[in-house]
């Protein structure tokens, strides 16, 4: 005669065994996957390594100079093209008011002042370092470039980058 406790015990033992099997298979499967991923990573790193060497090879200054001469409208940077912030002229002010207008009555003056275009603060500027040897042919000191304000914040970009991407295992 089987007592209920014994039955319960047997059932428990059976389910524990089953569970153990499942977990162990799962672990083996995960191990396999991990191994595969690791191999894939090593393979990718090896290709990156080769590509880095190739990138360096393709970046030989002599080769770049030859290509730039052939395809680009660039000439070597002249000393006069390098300027400092201090040497830049100030931004011209909006048209100043005439003497007559100053004597005009306060109301018109106020209206006129309100009608003036509102000045925005200067957009952030970035000093482009004279890292490359050449600058474009028009003979302007084209070394300051205005950066348009980014439409996306740094947070957006980071979120995009950090988003987990599906990994394929071969």
């Amino acid at each position: 005669m089987i007592r209920p406790t014994t039955l319960a015990m047997l059932l428990l033992a059976a389910s524990a065994g089953g569970l153990l099997f499942r977990v162990s298979f799962e672990v083996a499967e995960l191990e396999d996957r991990l191994g595969g991923l690791n191999r894939a990573i090593v393979k990718e790193q090896e290709s990156i390594h080769v590509l880095r060497a190739e990138w360096s090879y393709l970046n030989q200054p002599s080769q770049l100079a030859a290509l730039a001469e052939r395809y680009l409208d660039l000439v070597p940077l002249a000393t006069e093209q390098i300027q400092t912030f201090a040497a830049l002229p100030l931004r011209p002010l909006p048209e100043t008011l005439d003497d007559d207008e100053i004597t005009a009555d306060a109301a018109t003056l106020l209206a006129e002042v309100k009608g003036l275009p509102k000045l925005k603060p200067l957009a952030p500027r970035r000093h482009v370092r004279a890292r490359q040897e050449t600058v474009s042919r028009p003979e302007v000191a084209a070394i300051f470039v205005t950066q348009p304000a980014p439409s996306r914040t740094l947070g957006d970009v980071l979120n995009d980058v950090m988003k987990p991407s599906p990994v394929r295992v071969e």
């Binding site: 090593v42 390594h49 100079a65 000393t79």
Partner: protein, 562 residues
């Protein structure tokens, strides 16, 4: 009956005790397992996660030899995985047929050669090291039994000849043979982090391009150039021409492999007047206002010391430097004496090999004993042979405020303290800057062609006749120029040396340093200065003029002193 009952009773009693003991043992076992389970499952979670994470973490792949990169991180040398082909000739069934097939893939071998290799009575024979991936694929496709591949690593230099003399190269088994590859062989062989050099590839390219163009223009047999940070001794560019492709170094001849910058020692001529003047000014035997009679050549025994740009009169100290007067310099050196000269040059490191990290180092040649005639000739750079590397590091000390730094090819980290040995005073260094600026700026100076507008170049020319078999050859010159910029607060020293340039029409037949080496310095500085973060200035600005003003103290009224 009673006895039987007793016996039964005893048996039952015994059975029960056994059961009890057995049960207790099992209970203890299960309890232990249960406790351990609870321990692992409930209490140890944190440690487990950590243990898992530390397991089988894939790091950066490790090559057998570390990379070499420039100061910007540009790759100069790396190891690539390749396959090498070997055979077990005993397992190749038909060597002749196999050889024929192989020869179609490896055109550098003839079928006969391969047949000989494949029919050898050995179990292992190399056929070709470092196959290209395409060759490996083709050979695999041939399906010849008895052939196999071995995974190997090959040293690759993506920039080829550009840094050949600095980086050097390795042998077939990736052991460093020359250059940085040799001097850092032990470090590199361990794999690991890349070795970062102080070289700037862009400046290196500019220097090599300008130097090789000038060598061609003046039909020189070779040349060398060096750009060194005056405040730290870091070598930013170093070129010796002719050079070679380190990827096929065994095809290069000895001349191409010869490092003219660190291994070659030359009598560098008048550039030594920098040190002669610095010695005289620093020791106080004379001052900028002093001078020496250079009206007549000096005759000692069978030698005559002449001036190339002869003024034939009394010359002030700045004039001796500007006109590069040998007679004036020799008299100045005699005034100081041989012992002081020897000690001073020794302090500047001119009598020993430099401590740069290259195995190719030339030992300076200097007279022993140090006679009076040597003292005179050494004052203008004859009778002592040093490498251009010596010249660059000593010149840096002359203009940077008086501190000598060992030249180095390894990038200095900004946190490292800059240690230097004081060799001259700050005041003397200031005078030397003015003197060197004079040579380039003054219309009578010999170095006008080194000027690079905006970068306030100063320097000194040096043209020396080469000694061949113990005699000086008038037609074989070593023309060199050592330049500093910007003179008011020198950041870099540039040395350019041309080996046996020949005069051309554009230089009115001259092959002297002012015509050959100085223009290279000008072109290198105007291109490299923006890359090195040196901003151009207005050379006529009052503060710059003031920093470099110098009175000639000339005793001739017609010479315009500025």
């Amino acid at each position: 009956m009673v006895a039987q009952d007793d016996e039964r009773q005893a048996t039952l009693e015994r059975a029960r005790t056994r059961l009890l003991i057995g049960g207790a043992v099992f209970t203890a076992c299960f309890l232990a397992v249960g406790l351990r389970l609870a321990d692992l499952g409930l209490l140890r979670q944190e440690q487990d996660v950590r243990a898992l994470q530390s397991r089988e973490v894939v790091g950066q792949i490790k090559t057998q030899r570390a990379d070499i990169v420039d100061r910007q991180g540009e790759l100069l040398a790396t190891n690539l995985v390749t396959a090498s082909l070997f055979a077990n000739p005993r397992r190749v069934p038909d060597p002749a047929a196999a050889a024929l097939k192989l020869a179609s893939v490896l055109p550098e071998f003839s079928a006969a050669e391969l047949t000989a290799k494949l029919s050898a009575d050995r179990a292992f024979v190399w056929l070709k090291r470092n196959l290209t991936p395409r060759q490996q694929f083709e050979i695999n496709r041939l399906g010849i039994p008895g052939l196999d591949f071995e995974r190997e690593e090959q040293r690759v230099y993506p920039h080829g000849a550009l840094t050949a003399h600095v980086v050097g190269f390795t042998g077939i088994d990736n052991e460093g043979l020359v250059g940085i590859e040799k001097s850092f062989d032990a470090t590199l062989a361990g794999g690991g982090e890349a070795l970062q050099l102080s070289l700037d590839l862009r400046v290196q390219y500019i220097l090599r391009k300008e130097l090789s163009e000038q060598i061609e223009r003046f039909s020189a047999i070779g040349g060398g150039g060096l750009v060194i940070d005056a405040d730290t001794g870091e070598i930013v560019a170093m070129v010796s021409l002719p050079d070679f492709d380190p990827n096929s170094a065994n095809e290069a001849d000895d001349d191409a492999r010869f490092n003219r910058i660190s291994l070659g020692v030359y009598e560098l001529g008048s550039v030594f007047k920098i040190f002669n003047h610095a010695m005289a000014l620093d020791s106080g035997i004379t001052s900028m206002k002093g001078g020496y009679d250079a009206s007549k050549p000096i005759r000692v025994a069978r030698f005559t010391i002449n001036d190339f740009h002869g003024e034939n009169r009394w010359l002030s100290v700045p004039e001796i430097f500007m006109y590069s007067s040998n007679v004036g310099s020799a008299k100045m050196a005699l005034h100081a004496g041989g012992e002081m000269q020897r000690d001073f040059l020794s302090d500047l490191g001119f009598l020993e090999r430099t401590s740069v990290e290259l195995p190719e180092q030339g030992k300076p040649i200097y007279p022993a004993p140090w006679r009076e005639i040597s003292t005179m000739t050494i004052s203008y750079g004859h009778g002592i042979a040093v490498s251009p590397m010596h010249l660059a590091s000593a010149t840096a000390a002359m203009v940077n405020g008086g501190l000598l730094h060992s030249p180095t090819l390894i990038k200095r980290s900004p946190s490292d303290p800059v240690l230097g040995k004081r060799v001259i005073s700050r005041d003397t260094s200031d005078s030397m800057r003015r003197l060197m600026r004079l040579v380039v700026e003054n219309e009578n100076g010999t170095g006008g062609n080194a000027a690079a507008p905006g970068y306030v170049v100063g320097g000194k020319t040096g043209t020396a006749e080469k000694q061949v078999d113990g005699r000086y050859k008038t037609k074989a010159l070593v023309s060199s120029f050592v330049g500093v910029f910007p003179s008011q607060a020198p950041r870099y020293v540039v040395v350019v040396m041309l080996d046996e340039p020949k005069g051309i029409k554009e230089s009115y037949g001259y092959a002297t340093a002012g015509w050959t080496a100085a223009p290279v310095v000008s072109r290198v500085i105007s291109q490299a200065a923006p890359l090195l973060g040196v901003a151009p200035v207005d050379e006529d600005a009052p503060e710059i003029q003031r920093a470099l003003a110098l009175s000639l103290y000339s005793r001739v009224r017609t010479v315009a002193a500025n």
